[in-house]
């Protein structure tokens, strides 16, 4: 873009400027999803919904629910209501939900009642609401394989500019893959060091976001993961 390599910037340009120094708007799905309402009923009606900056959160829920789809819920709605009333409950036993995208938190089902769909509630419990997508991890799916997938995803998406993300995601994937398919045991100290390096050393949120679900998994599913790790 603009003749530069497709890599993240170290920081946003100062003074702030758009593409080719022109005013630039980047719309995400949620912005666009609000447009039909505003076009039909006008801006005043939209403003009247509430005073909060984020009035709604759109939740995407996956095929492990009875009624998968895209739903709109008021901020502050209990997570249990989204799962059981909007989604119709789980179709099969689920042990965890990955909420907020690939770099969101991994929420064990035991935490459902403690959460409401808003940023504060998720942050307080050590998760991330993100864009509120809910991807379920069934009881019978090995969590180690899921973590391996997360590292592989990050390695695939990495631009390659900073060392922690370019190398750390690949090395993390390799370690977990070896542990799952062979006799190799991942050194827990090394994994913690890798996660810390990714978290505070990465240039952008891709490498910086990966440690959250991995840490959640190591915290809430220690029993399941302990055979693959050594202290």
């Amino acid at each position: 873009m603009k003749g530069n390599a497709p890599e993240v910037r170290v920081r946003r340009p100062t003074p702030q400027q758009g593409l080719f120094n022109k005013p630039t708007v980047v719309n995400n799905v949620e912005t666009l999803a609000n447009l039909p309402f505003i076009m039909q009923r006008g801006g005043k009606a939209f403003a009247a919904i509430g005073a909060q900056i984020f009035r709604h959160q759109i939740a995407f829920i996956d095929g492990h629910f009875h009624r998968p789809g895209i739903y709109e819920a008021d901020m502050g709605t209990p997570l249990a209501a989204v799962i059981h009333e909007l989604g119709g409950g789980f179709r099969k036993p689920v042990k965890a939900m990955h909420i907020g995208g690939p770099l969101g938190g991994l929420v064990p089902v035991s935490k459902i009642d403690a959460l409401t769909v808003d940023f504060d509630s998720f942050a307080r419990e050590g998760f991330l609401l993100g864009h509120a997508s809910i991807v379920c991890i069934p009881e019978d799916f090995p969590l180690i394989q899921y973590l391996e997938h997360l590292f592989e995803f990050t390695a695939h998406e990495s631009c390659g500019k900073c060392f922690p993300c370019r190398l750390g995601s690949t090395r993390g994937f390799e370690m977990l893959h070896k542990a799952r398919t062979g006799d190799y045991k991942v050194d827990r100290t090394l994994m913690d060091d890798l996660l810390e390096t990714l978290e505070i050393g990465s240039l952008c949120a891709l490498g910086g976001g990966l440690p959250l679900p991995v840490k959640n998994a190591l915290k809430y599913f220690e029993n399941e993961l302990s055979p693959y790790f050594q202290k």
């Binding site: 497709p6 631009c159 390659g160 060392f163 190398l167 090395r171 390799e174 810390e196 978290e199």
Partner: protein
């Protein structure tokens, strides 16, 4: 000699009205637009922040070459550490050059870099004259804990040019040669190709030094020397 007992002998005296920031909890005067690295070096000397990497005479510090992530100086406040070489000093900020956290981060990043580098120092032609080796020793790496993993496919030695050779099997993607080619020489012969783990340095369109009419030989003082790129 400083008039302020909190300031080391190397620091300039703080004058009334000067902007201050703190290095390891001691106040020092900040020059406008100064990077953290320059700020710390100006007050504590060149060897003060655990690195000896030479810079490729950049005209601008807008871009962050990857290697310099290993230079991070802990900055108090944001959760992330700031790379010192390109981050301007924020007035009244607290900079910690050798906290346990930043030392560990430096070590862990360099360890990751070494997973992508052939560990054949003893037989390497630049043994004992290698910045990467020096930095690794300085941050205290004794061995690489990661298991043997995939290595990027990079072309080996290029001996096609009369003045320059390269061995990209030892390249660590620090981007400094790319910057030197762009910012000092203005040639853009060297650039990056590929993405993520597969990103690598290319000459022209994946050619050799002899093909793109390379003028980099004039750059001898600025070129990095970590075993993969040598000038004569």
């Amino acid at each position: 000699m400083s008039t302020n007992p909190n300031i080391s002998d190397k620091a300039s005296p703080i004058l009334p009205g000067e902007i201050l920031a703190y290095i390891n909890d001691k106040p020092y005067a900040v020059l406008p637009g100064e990077t953290i690295l320059k700020f710390v070096r100006r007050h504590l000397g060149d060897q003060s922040n655990a690195h000896t990497l030479r810079r490729a005479q950049p005209r601008t510090l807008r871009f962050l070459p990857g290697m310099q992530r290993g230079r991070g100086i802990g900055a108090n406040g944001p959760a992330k550490t700031q790379a010192s070489c390109h981050t301007p000093v924020i007035p009244n900020s607290f900079v910690y050059t050798d906290s346990a956290r930043i030392k560990k981060l430096r070590k862990n990043i360099i360890e990751l870099v070494l997973t992508d580098h052939p560990l054949d120092c003893l037989t390497c032609e630049v043994n004992n004259n290698c910045e990467l080796q020096t930095v690794a020793a300085r941050v205290g790496i004794r061995d690489v804990r990661y298991p043997e993993g995939k290595k990027p496919l990079r072309p080996g030695k290029d001996l096609s040019h009369p003045y320059m050779t390269s061995d990209f099997s030892k390249c660590i993607n620090c981007f400094r040669c790319v910057r030197a080619c762009d910012e000092v020489q203005g040639q853009l012969v060297l650039s990056m190709a590929g993405r993520g783990f597969d990103s690598h340095i290319v000459k022209g369109f994946e050619q050799s030094f002899s093909s793109p009419k390379c003028q980099l030989r004039r750059l001898r003082p600025g070129l990095p020397d970590v075993g993969y790129f040598r000038t004569f």
